[in-house]
């Protein structure tokens, strides 16, 4: 694997960290950054391994985690071997899939899916490295508590933002100007029936702030209750048994649109446009790291993960109860009220291209790369990064759900980092929305994504 990547964020990150420490440091780091960039350029030919595709002997020899190698390409997409080169070693020494771009930069082939923002640009990347997709799921197996939960490959979505200005509540809170680096990875599959019933999803949450708040957490976070979800427009939908059936209840909720939410917003008369904003999922997580002794909370955080125009909605009675927005654009064609607007125009155009070849298409396949319903637009609300660990140890070992935190490892435990601070100041410190201005679509990116 030889990919020459000169990473501008190296300098940006160095500059940002220098800004905290002073002008002199900034000058120093500027010089170091320049030298580093020059050095990186010169050494590029010799050191061309992509940071997320380290195909060293150690990786090749590592045991594959369950999540590794489970993706299979569709027609015209990159070979599986190319995809599997993007991997990393997990804390357990196993080989896990890792972030990769939608298009392989070497061969130019498309993987047909994306994992969000390149984590290498995060200021936290040097601290935490590549998120190992499926590590928490793997640890659930290792915990041997009669519960297995493995998730598909395409649902792993990375998002990050550096130097995020947090908001404070209260008049005195205006004195504070807390800035944070945030790096997250949530498995957020929005193309299948999985999240209709399954509330356990792998979450990597890393945050480091100027008030010394710092967390590096990997868990299977329980979002709401298993077997059900909340409709975007209100109310709970009971769907069926969870997998695993003994999934714990969690705080938060998975808000997913169902047909009853969409009908009035999407089916409109002539001259109107459908409100495709209703096609929006919000997974509102609340994760707490709790001690084994006394169940005391050490840390908690409540990021909300939102996806716009996913490739599914809940439609009871449909195959797997999964409705496809792309099909909506073709349905109800002979009725006065039907889906209209730019998204449906794109679908109609794709269908016309398909039929021009002589094929008889009336519906655009949901997994066609031309469909605008592919879930590539997402955003995260950063909420309530809470640390209650003053004078406590920074290294904790928890079960895969973030509970039973102890200072020594145990079977199935995950090593977590929580700063020895308490950031309860009597005023709320919350983050803004990040990622809302980005789209992670690319050539060939399609549902399932």
């Amino acid at each position: 694997m030889t990919i020459c990547v000169i990473r501008a964020p190296v300098r940006a990150v160095a500059m940002r960290s220098a800004r905290r420490d002073g002008v002199m440091t900034m000058r120093f780091v500027r010089h170091v950054g320049r030298i580093g960039l020059i050095g990186l350029s010169l050494s590029c030919a010799a050191d061309q391994a992509s940071p997320v595709a380290p195909t060293g002997p150690q990786l090749e020899a590592a045991t594959a985690a369950v999540s590794f190698g489970i993706w299979t390409p569709g027609p015209g997409e990159c070979p599986k071997a190319v995809h599997d080169r993007y991997s990393t070693l997990g804390p357990d020494g196993k080989r896990y899939p890792a972030w990769h771009p939608p298009v392989d930069p070497l061969s130019g082939c498309s993987f047909g899916h994306e994992h969000g923002r390149d984590p290498r640009g995060s200021a936290l990347y040097a601290r935490v490295g590549d998120p190992a997709f499926g590590y928490a799921n793997e640890q659930l197996d290792a915990a041997d508590i009669g519960m297995r939960r493995h998730e598909d490959h395409v649902g792993h979505k990375v998002e990050w933002e550096n130097d995020v200005l947090m908001r404070t509540n209260g008049g005195a809170g205006a004195l504070l100007e807390v800035r944070c680096d945030v790096l997250t990875k949530l498995h957020q599959g929005t193309h299948s029936k999985d999240a209709f019933t399954n509330n356990l999803h792998e979450l990597n949450y890393h945050v480091r702030c100027t008030d010394r708040t710092e967390m590096h957490i990997t868990v299977l976070t329980a979002i709401g209750r298993p077997g059900e979800f909340e409709r975007t427009c209100g109310g709970t939908v009971q769907v069926g048994p969870a997998t695993p059936v003994n999934s714990p209840n969690g705080d938060g909720r998975r808000k997913i649109p169902d047909w009853s939410c969409l009908e009035s917003r999407l089916l409109v008369g002539a001259g109107s446009k459908s409100d495709f904003g209703a096609l929006h999922e919000s997974w509102e997580t609340h994760t707490t790291i709790r001690m084994a002794d006394g169940n005391k909370s050490i840390a908690s955080f409540d990021p909300y993960f939102q996806v716009f125009r996913p490739s599914r909605y809940f439609e009871r009675g449909a195959s797997d109860n999964v409705g496809r927005p792309a099909a909506l654009c073709s349905a109800h064609q002979h009725e006065a009220r039907r889906a209209r607007g730019n998204e449906c125009d794109a679908v109609a155009q794709a269908i016309s291209v398909l039929t021009s070849g002589g094929a008889a298409f009336t519906l655009l396949p949901y997994d066609d790369a031309r469909s605008p319903f592919n879930g590539v637009r997402r955003q995260i609300d950063i909420n309530n990064n809470t640390v209650r660990n003053v004078d406590g140890p920074t290294t904790w070992y928890t079960d895969p759900f973030g509970k039973n935190a102890r200072t020594s490892p145990f079977p199935g435990s995950i090593r977590q980092y929580v700063s020895s601070t308490n950031n309860d100041y009597g005023v709320g410190v919350n983050g803004p929305t990040v990622g809302g201005s980005r789209s992670y679509g690319g050539p060939g990116v399609r549902a399932p994504n």
Partner: protein, 252 residues
């Protein structure tokens, strides 16, 4: 759990606007204001001196009722009075008021400087005609509105030196502690830290006292910024920067 998933609107409260981070255009505007501020400070000093001279002249004119020509307060006369004051030893005290600009800097602080009223109260001794020592307490209060106050205050041991023989100019140095706090009646943040003061002033005699326009700078570092509501530290190395221009009345 937060109740809503919808992106929240930007905070619009007044205090937030006051402390909004300086964008590049705002920095430019702030820089542009430096010159007028400096001019204003110098004008205040010159005005204070001039006013003191004028008051002194009027005072002498009014008390000269013998029919002889009014005795004008010439620079020479003022210098003579200043020399007389300069020869005194013993206790002294001073009260001053003025304007100042202060801001707190730390890794997690909004560091904009804001201007507000300042005051000083000093008392001490004069072991040598050209050397004062004493203790000074000072305060700076910025009433922002919506119940939010920003206050800086401190107490310091000070030493004042008159480097020029029989001249009124003096330099003041001090060391002590300072505290910067923001209080909204519900939550208070404050940082206490060691502080140093450096000042430059001028004494003008007037009716048995000295009018002393002065400018001074207070700098502190190493303060722990904490929420007094919860007792938790926000930052360990908060530093206060304050400059003020004051007009003091000094008694001997």
């Amino acid at each position: 759990m937060p109740a809503s998933s919808t992106p929240r609107p930007a905070t619009t409260r007044f205090a937030r606007q006051r402390f909004a981070p300086l964008t590049l255009p705002r920095r430019a505007v702030a820089t542009m204001w430096l010159l007028p501020r400096a001019v204003l400070t110098v004008a205040l000093l010159i005005g204070s001196v001039t006013a003191a001279h004028e008051l002194q002249a009027q005072s002498r004119s009014a008390t000269d009722s013998t029919g002889s020509a009014p005795r004008l307060a010439t620079p020479g006369a003022i210098a003579r009075d200043a020399r007389a004051f300069a020869k005194r030893v013993g206790l002294w005290g001073a009260v001053g008021v003025g304007r100042g600009s202060a801001g707190l800097r730390c890794a997690a602080c909004q560091s904009d400087q804001t201007a507000a009223f300042a005051g000083t109260l000093s008392i001490g001794g004069r072991p040598h005609p050209r050397f004062h020592v004493g203790i000074e307490t000072w305060a700076w209060l910025d009433v922002i509105g919506n119940g939010v106050d920003r206050m800086a205050r401190g107490t310091q041991l000070i030493a004042r030196h008159y480097p020029l023989a029989n001249r009124a100019m003096h330099v003041t140095g001090g060391a002590g502690t300072s505290r910067f706090s923001v209080d909204d009646g519900n939550t208070r943040f404050d940082a206490t830290s060691p502080a140093l003061t450096l000042g430059l002033g001028w004494d003008v005699p007037y009716r048995g006292v000295l009018l002393s326009p002065a400018i001074s700078v207070v700098a502190s570092t190493g303060g722990a910024l904490a929420s007094r509501r919860t007792g938790n530290n926000v930052a360990d190395n908060a530093s206060l920067g304050l400059w003020r221009s004051t007009l003091s009345i000094t008694w001997f």
